[in-house]
Amino acid sequence: MTGRGFDHADEAFAFIEKLDAIADSEGVVDAMASSLARFGFENFIITGLPHPRERFEYVVVLRSWPEGWFEIYAREDYVRVDPVIRLCRNTVQPFEWTEAPYDAEQEPRAAEVMRRAADFRMARGFCLPIHGLQGYEACLSMSGIDLDLTARTKPALHLMAMYAFERARQILQPGGLPRSAGLTPRERETLTWAALGKSAADTGEILGITERTVTAHVASACQKLGAANKTQAVARAVQHRLIAI
């Protein structure tokens, strides 16, 4: 895969510079399509990772996916079983799709999503997970058939993906506020202290608020996370990296 006649580092820096001048998400899609095509990529998507009660379509930031595939993926709710999405939650490093593990026997739906993606020329892929502040989670996933995806080109693609993501985020969330299942900073703090084994009374003392207020924050977090009690809320918040312990 050598000698395609372009310098991947120059391509990356030129791409990042170009992004600065782009003002809308269509512009980002166009710039990504032309630059990523030079590495053989035909499709890509930037999406937040949905929480248990969130629909995939609502967290997609931008996409250049075959229309048929987007419909199937949303209708089948493949985001819940996609091994690429699962690995995104558990690593901060970019990876090839083949590195996303699943058990074809035990997880037939995971095998199905990978197989059906290949029907849409999404045979191989490269994915960059994004883990931001306060539990923000997203990814940029790109795919195609004949990819120039080597140890030499991956650093350039890594950097390009990071900046493409950031530009799209800036354009679509100009306030810069993170998505975090709608949990407030106080709700995250009270859950974090609960995760560290503190009672509501301890937490109140630490944060300088009353025990009653702590309980109210936890109750509100339970509701937002669809959790039956504090224990389940903590488990979900950790699982979805809304809190770090």
Binding site: F13, L133, Q134, Y136, A156, M162, G176
Partner: protein, 211 residues
């Protein structure tokens, strides 16, 4: 209540205990958690050759306890990018009287929920604005970049990422601006608060004329 304290050569005698905590925490975070074994020291304190009289620390202190911090160092002197990581920079290494290198950033484990990060990031911008510093350079693991960006930092890569201690790492040039400062405060849900400058007189702590 956490406040950010400016500690430099003129007032470090007032911060003996805080600096001791800071050096020990650095060892715990960078050697213990992140596995930068090259920094390991038997006394459990991470102190390197840039912890000299030219270093400025912005320490997050809550009721006498250091909960995070960061270091600034003049780029007119030999600094980490020029001495240790020049290969991470594809073109010229940014240096000048208004460019400082930003290193050893961390927040203690139990405060990693975003607010203390935003407080430290806003304090970095505030300090640089007060001191007339226009840019900072930094070496950072790639997975950290989106956190800065989310907090409103504008960071340009200086080269392609390369593995450092097994992690893809990039050198970046960060623009100092009032917009970035207010974005960091907004994302953290924080009210603007002044930097604490005990015994430093006024700004001009930064050693612009270092040579």
């Amino acid at each position: 209540m956490t406040a950010i304290h400016v500690v430099g050569r003129s007032n470090r005698h007032l911060y003996g205990d805080a600096l001791e905590q800071w050096f020990r925490l650095r060892h715990a975070v960078f050697v213990g958690e992140r596995g930068w074994t090259a920094l390991a020291r038997p006394d459990g304190r991470d102190i390197d050759s840039y912890d000299d009289e030219h270093a400025i620390y912005l320490l997050a202190i809550d009721a006498g306890r250091v909960v995070g911090g960061q270091r600034l160092y003049p780029t007119l002197r030999p600094h980490m990018i020029s001495e240790v990581f020049p290969h991470l920079v594809a073109r010229d290494i940014p240096a000048g009287p208004t460019v400082f290198e930003w290193t050893r950033y961390f927040v203690v484990k139990e405060r990693r929920m975003g607010r203390t990060d935003c407080r430290l990031l806003a304090a970095l911008q505030a300090f640089c604005l007060e001191e007339g510093i226009t840019h900072v350079t930094a070496v950072v693991e790639m997975w950290w970049l989106p956190r800065w960006q989310q907090a409103g930092f504008r960071a340009k890569p200086l080269g392609l990422p390369q593995p450092v201690e097994g992690q893809p790492t990039v050198a970046a040039l960060i623009e100092i601006s009032e917009e970035s400062r207010s974005a960091a405060l907004r994302v953290g849900g924080l009210r603007p608060s002044s930097l604490v400058r005990h015994g430093t007189g006024s700004p001009q702590e930064a050693d612009h004329a270092a040579a």
